[in-house]
């Protein structure tokens, strides 16, 4: 059996007295799109930040293996250089930095044009534009996805990649996620949109910091829809309690 690209065991993280992730276990296989579903506050984005190594996100227990390498002692850029990356739900804006520079970060010889075309943006119009407030939320989101495509990561964590994208463009986002997979990458796909979740190979539901269900995307979506709790109370999952 091939080594999973990501293997999380008993991951626990608390913010003050509140446990956000509670002995979480999850596996993402090579070239797998793995959707992560869960209500607001269930710990999805926290898990993303923790995997990427964002400041202040240090687990109190557990292990994370990335292609069999212990990820937790590594700094953020070291994790990225291994092939892990994160696309933020609300991407940052950079004054003065052009789209071309952003798409070729650390790889000045890389051609940014194909990635930009793949996200449906005209390179002639966008390459010299700056990543500042003049871009709409949807444009910024697409550029974020283009930067992930340019990077060709082994595992991309996409935190709600379709947020702020118009309905007609959702299929475009789906194509991009599939393109990442076709390029040999795996994707941990955090989403609230059923249409997007259903393109995954597998899906898991997160509730009160624990994976409470894993299966096919259809099963996971149905499970999520039929859950007993509307919102977790943080300490004990109402669904589990029910």
């Amino acid at each position: 059996m091939p080594t999973p690209v990501l293997e999380i065991r008993n991951l626990t993280f608390a913010a003050g007295p509140q446990k956000i992730l509670d002995r979480l276990g999850l596996m993402v296989q090579q070239q797998e799109i793995h959707a992560l579903l869960g209500a607001n506050g269930s710990g999805k984005t926290t898990l993303a930040y923790l995997l990427m190594g964002c400041e202040g996100y240090v687990p109190s227990a557990g292990t994370v293996l990335f292609n069999d390498i212990d990820l937790l002692p590594l700094k953020m850029h070291e994790r990225a250089r291994l092939g892990l990356t994160l696309a933020w739900q609300e991407p940052a804006r950079f004054e003065g930095v052009t789209v071309r520079e952003y798409l070729t970060l650390g790889k000045p010889d890389c051609d940014p044009v194909p990635a930009l075309k793949q996200v449906g943006l005209d390179p002639a119009r966008y390459l010299s534009r700056r990543l500042d407030k003049a871009l709409s939320g949807g444009e910024r989101h697409r550029i974020e996805l283009a930067s992930i495509l340019s990077m060709k990561p082994k595992l991309a964590i996409l935190d709600e990649p379709s947020a702020g994208i118009d309905m007609l463009s959702i299929t475009h986002i789906i194509d991009i996620i599939r393109a990442l997979k076709a390029a040999g990458g795996s994707i941990l796909l955090i989403t609230h949109q059923e249409e997007v979740a259903l393109i995954a190979d597998r899906a898991s539901q997160l509730c009160a910091g624990r994976i409470i269900f894993s299966g096919s995307p259809r099963e996971a979506v149905d499970h999520f829809r039929g859950r007993a709790c509307v919102r977790c109370d943080g300490e004990v999952c109402n669904y589990v309690r029910a």
Binding site: M52, E55, M76, H77, A80, T85, R93, F94, V97, G106
Partner: protein, 311 residues
């Protein structure tokens, strides 16, 4: 090496080519201390210069309706570690004229030197002036620069200024600009400074929107490291119907640097509006982490963010 050659050689530090001084289509003034080393004019531009023991006194007039195609280069400086330079200049862009002035202030060896500029500028009705000022003060931090200017932007006129000091040390910098804008006039003031070690910056820019539908923007970007300190004051006052102003100040501090930003906005007409935003702090955490998530080290990420801000 002559003083002229020394200043020519330093021009690339502020992004200018030394060959501009040889081009007969381009007007220029080169002054070392209180001596005029070279000057050239072009049709539509009148330049009057006087050397005195205490200052260079100059008048630069762009005649009514004249469109000066190439930028006018004003190159001031000192090629010695010590010395004083005082410039008193009167710039007049007459009605309907258009000009771009590139002012290069070069003090490559300054250890205990001083540069004072007292400028008055008048941009006539419908005229336009773009004033770009690039400074290089060398590595020693021994420069004291005090540019003070009063600018009048006439009816329907445009004034764009861009001050930058991005290489080498700042030393002590004390900028004081006052801009008055008449009906439908536009004034945009931009300043970008990178300060290090014990550099000290005082930057005060004030715009008075006196005319109806006059508009202004004050945009300041300062990055400080070491023990540098900056006090930035952006003032906009609106006195007339439809006047619109905005003050935008961002200061990034690193190491033990300190900074203050004081936006002052005053409105004296119910149909005028002035807005402001000011931010002081370290490099934005989300920007930093986004770049690190693409594989840049923290140092590379900071460098990219800072160079973007100062661009």
């Amino acid at each position: 090496m002559s003083e002229l050659d020394e200043l020519r050689r330093t021009l690339p530090m502020v992004g200018a080519e030394p060959s501009i001084l040889d081009d007969t289509r381009i007007a220029h003034v080169v002054a070392h201390g209180h001596h005029i080393l070279s000057h050239r004019t072009v049709p539509g531009l009148r330049v009057e210069l006087e050397e005195t023991p205490d200052a260079i006194i100059g008048k630069l007039i762009v005649e009514a309706g004249a469109q000066i195609a190439q930028p006018i280069h004003m190159c001031f400086g000192l090629a010695h570690p010590t010395g004083v330079q005082q410039i008193k200049i009167d710039v007049q862009i007459l009605e309907g004229a258009r000009a771009q002035v590139l002012s290069h202030c070069l003090f490559p060896f300054a250890q205990a030197a001083e540069h004072r500029m007292q400028a008055t500028m008048e941009i006539g009705p419908g005229a336009s002036l773009t004033y770009t000022e690039g400074h290089y003060h060398g590595p020693h931090g021994g420069m004291q620069v005090l540019p003070h200017a009063t600018i009048k932007v006439g009816k329907g006129a445009r004034y764009f200024s861009d001050f930058s000091l991005l290489s080498g040390s700042v030393g002590r910098l004390d900028i004081d600009y006052l801009v008055g804008v008449e009906e439908e006039g536009i004034a945009e003031l931009s300043a970008k400074i990178f300060a290090h070690k014990t550099d000290r910056i005082t930057l005060k820019e004030a715009v008075m929107l006196r005319g109806e539908r006059s508009r202004s923007l004050i945009k300041t970007r300062v990055v400080l490291e070491g023990q540098a300190h900056a006090d930035i004051t952006g003032i906009t006052e609106a006195y007339a119907k439809g006047a619109r102003g905005h003050v935008d100040c961002m200061e990034i501090i690193q190491g033990r640097a300190t900074a203050s930003a004081i936006p002052i906005v005053r409105v004296f007409h119910p149909e005028a509006k002035v807005t402001h935003e000011a931010a002081i702090g370290s490099v934005d955490k989300k920007e930093l982490e986004t770049l690190m998530a693409r594989g840049l080290s923290p140092e590379q990420a900071v460098e990219m963010i800072v160079s973007g801000i100062l661009r």
